[in-house]
């Protein structure tokens, strides 16, 4: 079990972002969290990534307790792809990935492979802010490929991707899960691809609603 939450509550400035979430996620699975805007999808992913603190309840992610564990250690084990992209806008695609690789002591040769894998090999030297939204999203995926986290947290990953990008991303997710990593995705709607066979959970009002 990679994720285990019991009555998890996250408060921000007195406002409940999550109001009692119960959720378990098995290793090497794909879970899709659906729900309307403001349902708490992003907040749930941020909690799982150690980006926001658990206010009350109980939970552990990748074996690290969310109340008493070292959230910095947890963050090193997860990969995050947010709405807006994941990098420094004034660095090139290549420089962004090299920075991540060097921080994590990964070989720089991984960067070339990751850029080729996401189809950005020809845009490696382009400054990131000049990439299109879809290309920035692909760069975010490359960032995760370099990082190789054990838990992938992807916030609306299909946004800005065209049909080819979606097909590519479906295949990538299948490979990632087959490789033993765990993936949790937030999305407004259930995934189109039936090949991935994800588990879908629905959120509303900061809680998980079991269908």
């Amino acid at each position: 079990m990679v994720v285990r939450l019991a009555n998890a509550v996250v408060m921000s400035k007195g406002f409940p972002l999550l109001s009692g979430v119960d959720l378990t996620v098995d290793r090497a699975t794909l879970t899709v969290v659906t729900g309307a805007n403001g349902a708490g999808k992003t907040s749930l992913l941020r909690l799982l990534g150690g980006l926001d603190a658990l206010t009350s309840g109980a939970g552990d992610v990748a074996g690290i307790d969310l109340l008493s564990g070292d959230r910095r250690l947890l963050r090193r084990r997860v990969g995050w792809l947010g709405h807006e992209g994941s990098f420094y806008a004034d660095l090139s695609a290549y420089e962004n990935l090299v920075f991540a690789a060097r921080v994590l002591a990964r070989p720089v040769s991984d960067v070339d492979a990751a850029l080729e894998r996401v189809g950005l090999g020809h845009r490696a030297t382009t400054t990131t802010k000049w990439l299109s939204a879809g290309q920035r999203r692909r760069l975010g995926i490359a960032w995760l490929l370099v990082r190789r986290p054990e838990l992938w947290l992807l916030d609306e990953p299909y946004a800005s991707l065209d049909d080819a990008g979606r097909a590519f991303f479906d295949q990538l997710l299948a490979d990632v899960v087959a490789g033993g990593a765990t993936v949790v995705i937030s999305a407004h709607d259930p995934l189109r691809s039936i090949d991935l066979a994800p588990r879908t959970v629905h959120m509303a009002g900061g809680r998980v609603r079991v269908p």
């Binding site: 941020r46 990534g49 150690g50 980006l51 959230r71 910095r72 250690l73 963050r75 090193r76 997860v78 990969g79 995050w80 792809l81 947010g82 709405h83 807006e84 992209g85 994941s86 990098f87 420094y88 806008a89 004034d90 660095l91 420089e95 920075f99 991540a100 060097r102 921080v103 994590l104 400054t127 975010g140 960032w143 990082r147 986290p149």
Partner: protein, 219 residues
């Protein structure tokens, strides 16, 4: 910590070299501010006035505030903060790296503004060169303190306006010591008393930053 500091410093400097914000926005602003200071003194007073060092540090203050905000804004761009947080960087290394990068940027700016002081405010060239080491140390101290306070304000609302309010009380002793040191160099007086204040502050702010930057990031 040193490895992370090196990576962060080179990353920040590369971003600055690429974006040219320092070159096209901050430096022109500083030079224009110096020029206005010279105009305020008037051509007859500029050479004879002892206000040169004070005006230099006043402009440095304005420029430093812009650069501190810029330095912190790099980390707080939408999406960047969360992704970089998941890299699990050592906060002490991040602090050191950002402080070093800001120091280099302030040094470049300071040297240009010193040249402007000689030209516009007619400060004595030899005295200015003698004051250069103390100015570089003062700028490094401002960078260290600024990195610390910059992280403190980025977590709240209105960071750009909050930063001057918080930093001015902390910067005031440094600016006074820097100005006194610069004036002493121009007038041939002793420098060391003012150096002590600045060097002690540099060590103190760097130590506090190394210890507390992680707490500030989390908050």
């Amino acid at each position: 910590m040193i490895r992370v500091a090196w990576l962060v410093a080179t990353k920040d400097l590369r971003i600055e070299a690429r974006s040219r914000v320092l070159l096209w926005q901050v430096l022109p602003f500083g030079v224009i501010a110096l020029l206005l200071a010279g105009l305020a003194l008037g051509p007859a007073q500029a050479g004879a006035s002892s206000a040169g060092p004070g005006l230099f540090y006043l402009v440095v203050l304005f420029v430093a505030l812009l650069m501190i905000n810029r330095s912190q804004a790099l980390e707080n761009a939408p999406g960047t903060r969360a992704s970089v947080a998941t890299l699990g960087l050592d906060p002490a290394g991040v602090f050191l790296g950002k402080a070093v990068a800001l120091t280099v940027e302030l040094w470049v700016t300071g040297v240009v503004l010193l040249g402007g002081s000689v030209l516009v405010l007619h400060t004595d060239l030899l005295g200015t060169l003698q004051a250069l080491p103390s100015i570089l140390v003062t700028l490094a101290t401002l960078a260290s303190a600024g990195t610390l306070y910059g992280a403190l304000t980025q977590g709240g609302d209105g960071p750009a306006t909050l930063l001057p309010v918080l930093t001015l009380p902390a910067f005031a002793p440094l600016l006074i010591a820097g100005e006194r040191s610069f004036s002493a160099a121009l007038q041939g007086g002793a420098l060391w008393q003012w150096w002590v204040i600045v060097v002690v502050a540099l060590v103190a702010y760097t130590a506090v930053g190394i210890l507390l930057y992680g707490v500030l990031e989390e908050s």
